[in-house]
């Protein structure tokens, strides 16, 4: 008591400090409202969090998304089904091929073509989807590690991601927003020597992953900042609609590729990693393990891929060969009608979903018989996960918001559509 008295005398510079008690004249514990965003260093998306903090501890939070609302649904009502593929690319822009595949799946479901897609096209879709999933996880883990101060893993993962971008550029023509998949198949065949290039890239990526795992997995700083932060129980995860790596980290065994298999996923073997506690460290470990599983899927697909057509042989949705388009009037008219009017899909509605980088990415489409959808809704996992963010950062420090937000992997384009 005497020591704290002399300390107070020194600090406050007053002689009558014995009248001051510890509780009365300390700094008043008011809550402070702080604004985080919409422009903030986290590389994932633009979102605004209004925090009410007590010192460093978050008491209340209010998350404001919508700073990247680019009106996917309204634009879709004015675009043909094939013209919507670029819009879907920009939904989850770190794994764009998966969004393309999801949109193709829902249009094929509405037309009844799901079982008629050629095997080679399905394998190509799975190959590029898994490559996109790898880029998604590399970006998420790399950026999160950088935000925690580990700049090295970010650069190594970017290096690996560049190799994948180059390969995807050889396949589709663009590094990031591919617009590669079409209704009924894919637009171009795989380039020459693709299997050898991809195998070499996967070997190099595995080496990079091993290096980063050695840097991060046993790193005390990384573990202290990630373990026990932002935990969620299994029931909370299910009731909040969480899917994907976040739900799997809580122990929810839900992977669309296993539970509602689509495309050629029944023919490849892979495991679904599950976590236990649902904290940030489990989410990170689940993502790293999913990277390894994706690499294994890719190796199997490269062995199993057959030869054949890459687009279903159905004049309702496929363009005629260029030779016919230039030489016969019927093919030219068919080409013209497909481009200008769009693929006519009979009236009805369907919901189709794929396993995106963040979980169940679904499209709910209401078709009305014309070439443009009547309504196209995207069920985005990032939106649902962001809605849990407010509850996850409760009672954590401000510094814990960084790993929580990073491991949720909220992609702005997908969240705000």
């Amino acid at each position: 008591m005497a020591d704290s008295q002399t300390l107070k005398q020194l600090v406050l510079g007053r002689k009558d400090v014995q009248d001051l008690s510890d509780t009365e004249h300390d700094l008043p514990p008011d809550l402070m409202t702080v604004n985080m965003g919409p422009s903030h260093p986290a590389m994932h998306g633009t979102v605004r969090i209004v925090l009410t903090v007590d010192g460093e501890r978050v008491v209340k939070s209010d998350v404001h998304p919508g700073y990247l609302h680019r009106c996917f649904e309204k634009e879709s009502e004015y675009a043909t089904y094939t013209q919507i593929f670029p819009y879907t690319d920009r939904l989850n822009y770190v794994s764009p091929m998966i969004n393309n595949c999801g949109w193709a799946m829902v249009t094929e479901k509405l037309m009844g073509l799901t079982s008629l897609i050629p095997k080679r096209a399905e394998y190509i879709r799975v190959i590029v989807s898994e490559m996109s999933r790898i880029t998604d996880h590399l970006t998420c883990v790399g950026a999160s590690a950088m935000e925690l101060g580990a700049f090295g893993p970010f650069l190594f993962f970017l290096k690996a991601r560049e190799w994948l971008y180059e390969l995807l550029e050889k396949v589709s023509g663009a590094r990031l927003t591919h617009t590669y998949v079409r209704v009924g198949g894919v637009s171009k065949d795989l380039p020459d020597n693709f299997a050898a290039d991809l195998t070499h890239t996967l070997d190099e990526t595995v080496k990079v992953m091993v290096e980063v795992e050695q840097m991060l997995n046993g790193n005390k700083i990384f573990r202290d900042r990630m373990a026990g932060i932002g935990a969620m129980t299994r029931e909370e995860a299910i009731a909040s609609g969480c899917v994907g790596p976040i739900a799997r980290a809580c122990g929810v065994d839900y992977d669309v590729r296993k539970d509602y298999p689509y495309s050629v996923y029944p023919e490849v073997e892979f495991d679904v990693p599950l976590g236990t506690t649902g904290d940030c460290l489990d989410r990170y470990l689940v993502r790293i393990e999913e990277l390894k599983q994706s690499i294994s899927i890719l190796r199997q697909c490269l062995k199993q891929i057959p030869d054949g057509r890459i687009m279903v042989d159905d004049p309702r949705c496929s363009l005629p060969p260029k030779k016919d388009t230039y030489n016969t009037i019927e093919s030219m008219i068919r080409h013209f009608k497909h481009i200008v009017d769009g693929i006519k899909i009979p009236a009805g509605e369907a919901y189709a979903f794929v396993e995106g980088g963040n979980g169940e990415l679904g499209f709910f489409v209401v078709a009305d018989g014309t070439g443009r959808p009547y309504k196209a809704y995207c069920r985005s996992p990032s939106f649902v996960h962001l809605s849990t963010a407010g509850q996850l950062i409760q009672d954590h420090l401000i510094a814990d918001i960084v790993p929580i937000f990073g491991m949720i992997n909220m992609i702005g384009g997908e969240c705000d559509k």
Binding site: P38, S39, H40, P41, M43, G45, T46, G66, Y67, L68, H69, R70, C71, K74, E75, P86, D89, R90, Y93, V94, T139, A143, L155, L158, K159, R161, E162, Y165, R175, L176, T177, G412, G413
Partner: protein
């Protein structure tokens, strides 16, 4: 007094020959030590990460370290789509930056709105702030970004960034008021 707004690289080079040594030295220092504020919103952010990454290295141009505070940066890179909701935030960040400051509109969404023409997308960030260099592309290749950065550096060297021109204009106005 004709103050040209758009120039060509040849004109920039000719003007460089006429500027003073101090101005040349200051601009040389400014162009090789750009502190970027990457205002990242959307998909172009991925390409910005690639540009700042090890393969297409942004650091060799001096623009290495992103300063995530407008008070400490001088190059605002608006990366990705700007929406109407985001407009006040962009404007405020631009206003908070100290002169001289430059703006790069990275990607076609920040330049003109891209292929988004709807009730929420701002048709280009130059609706609310002046832009020095526009980079088209959806997303632009990293080589395009480096080309744009070199173009901006040439502009800075010749003193023709919007902020530098504003400064010169104000000096000319003040000088003409003194005379008159």
């Amino acid at each position: 007094m004709g103050v040209e707004i758009t120039t060509t690289r040849l004109e920039d080079a000719a003007k460089w020959a006429k500027s003073s040594m101090l101005e040349k030295a200051t601009n040389w220092g400014r162009k090789f030590s750009l502190f970027t504020y990457p205002f990242v919103t959307a998909c172009c952010g991925m390409e910005f990460m690639s540009v700042a990454g090890p393969k297409y290295d942004l650091a060799r141009f001096g623009a290495e370290f992103p300063r995530f505070s407008p008070r400490q940066s001088d190059l605002l890179m608006v990366v990705g789509t700007v929406t109407e909701k985001q407009g006040p935030a962009v404007k405020r960040i631009f206003d908070q930056m100290a002169e001289p400051k430059w703006v790069i509109a990275f990607g076609v969404c920040a330049s003109t709105g891209g292929f988004y023409q709807n009730y929420h997308t701002m048709p280009g960030v130059d609706q609310v702030i002046p832009v020095d260099v526009y980079i088209p592309g959806c997303p632009p290749r990293p080589e395009q970004v480096l080309d744009a950065l070199i173009l901006l550096m040439d502009r800075i060297q010749s003193g023709r960034g919007h902020s530098q021109l504003r400064d010169k204009r104000e000096q000319l106005i003040a000088a003409s008021h003194d005379e008159g």
